[in-house]
């Protein structure tokens, strides 16, 4: 559905996107993952024909963004980072305008507006001014605007940014429900978001493609070794940090123990396991057998930062996850 080949976008002084290639199949939800300034928005803007690429090609549904922009635009629904709303318009009026702009005939536009209002749960604010809407509603109107002409491809730039947790959940559910009919690309810098909503993930950093894979493969690849946070306290009296550290290091499967902090006589460590080993059970046993209290023990999720470190390390020459 989407085919991007060695796409490069250069601004006056900086290279925003540097030779990215990827493909997206029909009906997929794809997460576009990267830190701020990685080139996500730029790539999306090229795909939506907002700006032309410096070199390379991008095709949507078989149409080139440079050669046939009108054909591409007809097939794309786009929600920019901040929803493009006209504050002086009412919700219905705005959606009708966008619908007409996207080429829906006059006779069909009212019905279509009702449908998307229903779908995006904004029916109760139909006659409100856009300037009076809350952040969550604004985002939903933005989504409604993007899907109004029933496009093949939906491009959503950070659709959950700035929403509260409840709204984030609702928005994610809404996006997932759209997946059947549309191919969706959504950008984010939040890893769990990709895990929860997407099937495929494209990771870019500093304008370069770092990895593209299915979510399962990627998390599997990255979760080869696990990181565990451990907090230990003495049952009574005092306890030496070094003593705990020595004991934790002796647990089979542990590759590294990093001391974090001591507060109220509670010692906090971060423990990394060898690849393919789960050490949480052994850690717990070891602490309890030593006669200490195990205050806390949990596997920490890999942060995006760590993922980048791991991925870029693995590309640098086979050092993938292979810690000594």
């Amino acid at each position: 559905m989407i085919k991007v080949e060695s796409l490069t976008k250069r601004y006056a002084r900086t290279v925003a996107v540097d030779g990215i290639s990827f493909e997206v199949e029909k009906g997929r939800i794809v997460g576009f993952l990267g830190p701020n300034g990685a080139g996500k928005t730029t790539t999306m803007r090229v795909l939506t024909c907002f700006m032309p690429p410096t070199s390379g090609t991008a095709r949507v549904a078989g149409f080139d963004v440079l050669q046939q922009p009108l054909e591409v635009k007809k097939r794309i629904g786009y929600l920019p980072e901040s929803p493009p709303l006209y504050p002086e318009m009412e919700v219905v009026e705005y959606l009708r305008f966008v619908g007409r702009l996207k080429g829906i005939p006059k006779s069909a536009v009212d019905r279509r507006v009702d449908e998307v209002c229903e779908r995006c749960a904004i029916t109760d604010v139909r006659t409100r001014l856009l300037s009076k809407l809350s952040r969550g509603y604004r985002q939903r109107v933005g989504l409604a605007q993007a899907i109004i002409h029933n496009p093949d491809v939906l491009i959503l730039d950070e659709p959950t940014a700035g929403l509260d947790p409840k709204q984030i959940n609702e928005t994610r559910r809404l996006i997932k429900s759209l997946a059947g009919d549309h191919t969706i690309i959504l950008s984010t810098h939040i890893l769990p978001e990709v895990e929860q909503t997407c099937e495929q993930v494209i990771i870019i950093d500093k304008g370069k493609l770092v990895a593209t894979d299915t979510v399962e493969n990627l998390t599997h690849r990255l979760r080869g070794s696990e990181t565990v946070a451990v907090e230990v306290a003495p049952r009574d009296g005092a306890l030496e940090t070094a003593e705990v550290q020595r004991r934790l290091e002796q647990v089979p499967g542990v590759s590294r123990v990093i001391f974090k902090e001591t507060r109220d006589n509670r010692h906090r460590f971060e423990v990394e396991s060898l690849e393919g080993r789960s050490v949480r059970g052994a850690l717990a046993r070891s602490v309890v057998e030593a006669g200490w209290d195990l205050v806390e023990l949990h596997a920490t999720a890999l942060s995006l930062e760590q993922i980048f470190l791991q991925l870029t390390a693995s590309e640098d020459g086979g050092a993938a996850g292979g810690k000594p």
Partner: protein, 255 residues
């Protein structure tokens, strides 16, 4: 064509949903009414004077009232037009809605024409208020309606030309105030260019005078329809909209 109208209607809707349109109309109604009153008052006094002195030369309403009023209106236009065009693109750029327009299946030219047309329609509505004043003349006298029509055609052409320039300037910034100020400066320059002919007769003075929007309006105010001047306005309209299109394209490349 259909897309132009969709954009145009949306723009008109924003003009009339905000106080801009009404404010401009009220301002114009007051000032155009004042000019009309002054011109009529002068006409009446002069008429009485010449009657009392027994000269009895015929005084023409078209010449004494309509022409000065139209000339004044064309100058007021220079002040109104920046306020009409300043938001056209600057506001879309500031609020990010330009991304919606630019990623919709419409051509840049359709967006530009739609917006310019909306500005022109608003300007026509504003001018129509002064037509009410002129209409009063028909109640008390018999002015010739043909020169009046030509005069209004001239006002529309002049308005269209300045609106095109304003539309272009609005694409160059995301700040309405800057767009408005720059357009006002441009309008003012195009107005005063003409003054140089008062004391200079060099080729440059002639060129500057030719560029001045006011030079070309005078014949219209007199009721003379001269294609030369109409072509001047039409080419300024074309040039302004062409620059707007180039500016929008460069916006995409730089963004």
């Amino acid at each position: 064509m259909k897309n132009i109208w969709i954009i145009c209607r949306k723009e008109l809707r924003s003009y009339f949903a905000s106080p801009i349109a009404y404010g401009l109309m009220a301002f114009f109604a007051a000032i155009a009414g004042y000019f009309f009153y002054v011109a009529t008052a002068i006409f009446v006094t002069r008429g009485l004077e010449s009657q009392m002195m027994g000269r009895g030369f015929p005084m023409d309403v078209n010449e004494w009232v309509v022409r000065p009023v139209l000339m004044n209106i064309s100058v007021i236009g220079l002040f109104l037009i920046p306020m009409i065009t300043m938001r056209l693109f600057a506001e879309e750029k500031r609020s990010g809605t330009i991304e919606l327009l630019a990623t919709s299946p419409v051509r840049d030219s359709e967006i530009i024409l739609g917006k310019w047309l909306a500005a022109l329609i608003l300007y026509t509505c504003i001018l129509a208020i002064s037509a009410l004043n002129i209409a009063l003349l028909f109640l008390y006298g018999k002015p010739d309606w043909r020169p009046i029509l030509v005069g209004y055609l001239g006002l529309l052409l002049q308005g269209g030309a300045l609106l095109a320039i304003g539309t272009f300037i609005s694409t160059t910034t995301r700040n309405q105030i800057i767009a408005g100020t720059a357009t006002f400066a441009a309008c003012l320059l195009l107005w005063v260019f003409d003054w140089i002919t008062a004391y200079e007769t060099t080729t440059w003075a002639k060129v500057m005078s030719y560029l001045s929007v006011v030079t070309h309006f005078e014949p219209f105010a007199k009721g003379v329809l001269d294609s030369k001047h109409a072509i001047y306005y039409l080419s300024v309209i074309f040039f302004g909209l062409f620059l707007t299109a180039r500016s929008m394209e460069s916006l995409r490349w730089r963004a």
